[in-house]
């Protein structure tokens, strides 16, 4: 995990990418690691809402500014470690939620997208060498679009978050064969919001599900997280890894975090 850039991706929206990305980042930071979490979903920014309680004052530089070459990556990162009382540093890069900023991103040229990939590749040297960051997590937009593809190709490996919904599964299958295979990127699949009955399933049934999914997706399943009503009902601005460290959702995510460290 050290010195790695991880992309959290999905085929469709609503699979829980941001919840996973945020809590994974907070879990690592709670353990003392220095983490950078970047919101690369420029069309539907969400980290600004999730971290609203931890951001003091107006945001000086957005991640959009870094992508436009108007600031450096260290200027575009906000340190929220103190606000959330974390052992390690948690630096977040926020996408600008203003409608003008979203419109601007939608009208970017191919040349800008090339420069964007270059910037994403170049930020790792600043983060890992100059800023002493252990791991960088990209929270991306779903499906195949520039912001998500740019993130995937510039990262070391990807976690595809999927539910058991057949549309999600089919979407992931298509994405893996038509996109991930082409780039030969290391990819693992995280099953999220899995039917609640899996909590009372035997280990054997769980293993059967994982085996079925691994066969269908031809990628390792790094974890199966059941659907928890309180996670769905929780306010977006409450980060479980910071508030309720004994929640079963977090225990599952902790297992995922441990497995990731060995990739």
């Amino acid at each position: 995990m050290k010195g790695k850039v991880i992309t959290i991706h999905s085929s469709r929206g609503g699979t829980g990418k941001t919840v996973i990305a945020t809590n994974l980042a907070a879990t690592y930071a709670n353990k003392g690691s220095n983490i950078a979490l970047l919101d690369l979903d420029f069309r539907a920014p969400s980290l600004i809402t999730v971290f609203s309680k931890g951001i003091r004052g107006p945001v000086k530089h957005w991640l959009n500014d870094f992508m436009n070459g108007q600031c450096t990556i260290d200027q575009a990162l906000v340190n929220v470690s103190k606000e959330y009382n974390l052992k390690g540093r948690l630096l977040i890069g926020l996408a600008n939620p203003a409608i003008e900023a979203i419109q601007s991103i939608m009208g970017k040229s191919r040349a800008w997208e090339v420069a964007a990939v270059k910037r994403l590749f170049s930020l790792r040297s600043t983060l890992f060498n100059d800023m002493n960051i252990d791991c960088c997590i990209f929270d991306t937009s779903p499906g195949i679009q520039y912001s998500s593809i740019n993130a995937v190709i510039s990262s070391d490996f990807s976690i595809i978050v999927t539910t058991l919904d057949s549309l999600d599964i089919k979407g992931v299958q298509k994405m893996l064969t038509e996109f991930y295979d082409a780039f030969e990127k290391r990819t693992v699949v995280l099953m999220n919001k899995v039917f609640p009955e899996t909590r009372i399933w035997s280990n054997r049934r769980q293993e059967e599900l994982v085996s079925q999914m691994e066969k269908a997706l031809k990628r390792p399943i790094i974890g199966v997280i059941p659907c928890y009503c309180d996670v769905l009902q929780a306010k977006r601005s409450s980060i479980l890894a910071i508030k309720k460290s004994d929640h079963p959702f977090l225990r599952n995510l902790q297992e995922v975090a441990n497995k990731l460290e060995h990739i």
Partner: protein
């Protein structure tokens, strides 16, 4: 006097011969000059053709230059070329040997692949001393 008369009488005939000879010489000179002019004209035409060809080639090349490969373009490239571009995105600029270290493929393979991408207009290359560096503009 008689001899002088004969001489004056013969001179017009001699003059005609001399004049004819001079005329023939002149015609030969004119012919040579015409040959030279035809030759020069041919050369001029050839130069014009070559110049036109160069202009056409330049505008063709200008049209053929493509922007650097973005993420979507990468998807449409053959996997062997895609791998080279991906390595260059990471390295910024590199020699064929540098690319081969990143991709773990043979230097010759990377050299062929990078040069193919240069011909396709996706990459640029520059020479620094004896080394040739490839990069994405």
């Amino acid at each position: 006097m008689a001899a002088g008369e004969t001489a004056t009488k013969k001179s017009p005939a001699l003059d005609v011969n001399v004049l004819l000879k001079m005329l023939v010489d002149e015609l030969i000179q004119v012919n040579k000059k015409l040959d030279l002019m035809i030759e020069l004209d041919g050369k001029m035409l050839k130069m014009q053709e070559e110049s036109l060809q160069r202009i056409t080639d330049k505008s063709y090349r200008r049209k053929a230059i493509k922007p650097a490969p973005d993420a979507m373009t990468l998807l449409s490239l053959p996997s062997s070329l895609r791998k080279t571009v991906m390595a260059l995105y990471k390295l910024k600029e590199a020699t064929a040997e540098g690319i081969s270290r990143e991709t773990k493929r043979l230097r010759a393979v990377e050299s062929a692949s990078a040069n193919q991408l240069v011909r396709m207009g996706y990459l640029k290359k520059k020479r620094e001393g004896r080394k040739v560096y490839f990069y994405i503009e």
